[in-house]
Amino acid sequence: MPDNPIAVQLVDAVLSDFPDHQPGTRPVHTIGIGVQGYFEASEVARNYTIAAHFQGQRVPVTVRFSNGTGSPVEHDGWSDVRGMATRFHLGDDVATDLIAMTLAEFFAPSVDAFLQFSRAARPARQQRESPWQKILDMLCLKQPLPDPMPGQMASGAAGMLAFANQHRFAQMAVFQAGSIGAPVSYVRAAYHAVHTFILTGPDHVRRPVRFSWEPIAGVRTTDPTAPPVDCYLHQELKDRLQRQPATFRLVMSIGEIGDAYADPTRQWPGKRCRVFMGTLTLTTVPEDQEIFCEKISFNPCRLTPGIDISDDPILQARRDAYEVSRLRRGGQSCPFAAG
């Protein structure tokens, strides 16, 4: 499994997009912070799945919030995708993960397409668009290119844009990523698991579903016209949790025949049945981040009976890619490794 050539190729492709990446760290979402708390399922959740963490009892969780980039330099205030990886501790060393991000869709529907996308997204030197070019854009009613962030020398944005212009499946993710902004807090953003999972209910009915975390405090981004601040998200979270817990609602959409079960580039419409599955309460930021956060190896395919992966090829490829990444950085071992 760790020598799966596609998984190795995927990890190498991601790493090539971040030339300053440091060995021994995560290839993307490199900078993050771990938080502890608990999850309590709603009273209706158990009607949809037999999975242990949806039966109503309080389940301890570890959550890692992160910035999207694989660079070791912290730029909290830059417009960037954020991650929220959640581990539900089910007891007896059994766990299940749910990995989500602030983008509501992925960039590519297949491994080949992702490898192409990744090549296109390799950073190139980025300069401010000339004022004359901006005026020309405005006369064409065309969106001028975004200015580089302070200190930003290179970016993959132009390559991603060119790729999206040629591949419609990437357009929504590239469009959204380009304007996603920076959250005022890791707990003031909505996070989407983007892939389809198959839930099995107590009645043995199998349902295709997608999950999102919605912050009870509401979604809020920083002022995009203000100069970005590099380091604030970790301290903000520590300060916030010292005052009071932060909460998220887990929302599940149920897909219907004809929906893109296997395509994470397509969001499902808001008309799908939406179920409130439970509440996540975050209470503390552990002192020892290395043990309680950085060494943890999350995996979107670490599931428990009652939840299965779908035919989504990106989801399936992530399973081994995360394992390759874990081995390279020396993360805690994963149950897949034995199998």
């Binding site: 300069q127 401010r128 004022p131 901006k134 005026i135 854009d137 405005m138 006369l139 064409c140 009613l141 065309k142 969106q143 290119l145 200015d147 580089p148 302070p150 200190g151 930003q152 020398m153 844009l161 999206a164 212009n165 040629q166 419609r168 357009q171 929504m172 590239v174 469009f175 149920i254 219907e256 025949i257 004809g258 929906d259 969001q267 419409p269 808001g270 008309k271 799908r272 049945c273 939406r274």
Partner: protein, 232 residues
């Protein structure tokens, strides 16, 4: 070193918010690009889709310009509704697929906003059958309405008339607008998405921004009323 913003950069960045640029955009750029790259007004109402929940809780946003836009004309429209409240409410109950419906006066327009289950044509057909007389009274006050009344005698023409006044619903996913304007699967330019939207709004001044939020998606009026124990 990264290039610092000069005074000229800052001036250009602020340009879109200046009155001068807004004037040029409105009176020169938009008409120019509308003529150079014409955009077809997109049809109103929801898109067809095979999924069952796509057939539930459709939004209708009917904008009907009044013949007489004066306060007296608007009062006549208000009176036409007020005089027929019983017929309207009984008709809505008879149609049985309506979640919400309301009439609104906005400037010189009488608007009917509703949320309904099922097919649009059948929705209007049901209305003609149940409250056709009320529609006749209302449509008589609307521009270009005389040709389709009495609606019982012009069923298909009346359905088309209503459809033409039902607002275009901008796609929920912004980039789907590119695909609507450019049927070919290539040649898109994401940076031209603002122009696509501007030109669609030039051709289609009133639109619904997306298909709307639903508090209990994927459930019909019948399911909700049955579950609440209030009969259907």
């Amino acid at each position: 070193m990264e290039s610092e913003a000069t005074w000229f950069d800052r001036l250009v960045d602020a340009l879109p918010n200046t009155r001068l640029f807004q004037f040029i955009a409105e009176w020169i750029l938009v008409p120019y690009w509308a003529a150079r790259t014409p955009v077809k007004p997109q049809p109103g109402g929801p898109r067809m889709a095979p999924q069952p929940s796509e057939n539930l809780q459709h939004m209708m946003n009917l904008i009907m310009p009044l013949k007489d836009k004066s306060p007296i004309g608007r009062a006549k429209a208000a009176l036409a509704i007020a005089q027929n409240v019983d017929e309207i409410y009984a008709g809505l109950n008879n149609v049985g697929t309506v979640h919400f419906a309301r009439f609104v006066l906005v400037d010189g327009n009488l608007c009917m906003f509703s949320v309904y289950d099922g097919d649009f044509s059948n929705y209007i057909r049901d209305f003609i059958a149940t409250i056709g007389s009320v529609f006749n009274a209302i449509v008589a006050l609307i521009e270009d309405g005389d040709a389709v009344i009495p609606c019982e005698h012009h069923v298909e023409a009346f359905i088309d008339w209503v459809h033409a006044r039902d607002l275009y619903q901008v796609p929920d996913l912004a980039t789907d607008l590119l695909a609507q304007h450019n049927a070919a699967a290539s040649g898109d330019d994401l940076r031209l998405l603002p122009r696509d939207l501007i030109l669609q709004l030039h051709a289609n001044p009133n639109v619904s921004l997306g298909s709307g939020y639903r508090g209990y998606p994927a459930f019909s009026v019948a399911q909700i009323r049955q579950k609440l124990g209030v009969g259907w």
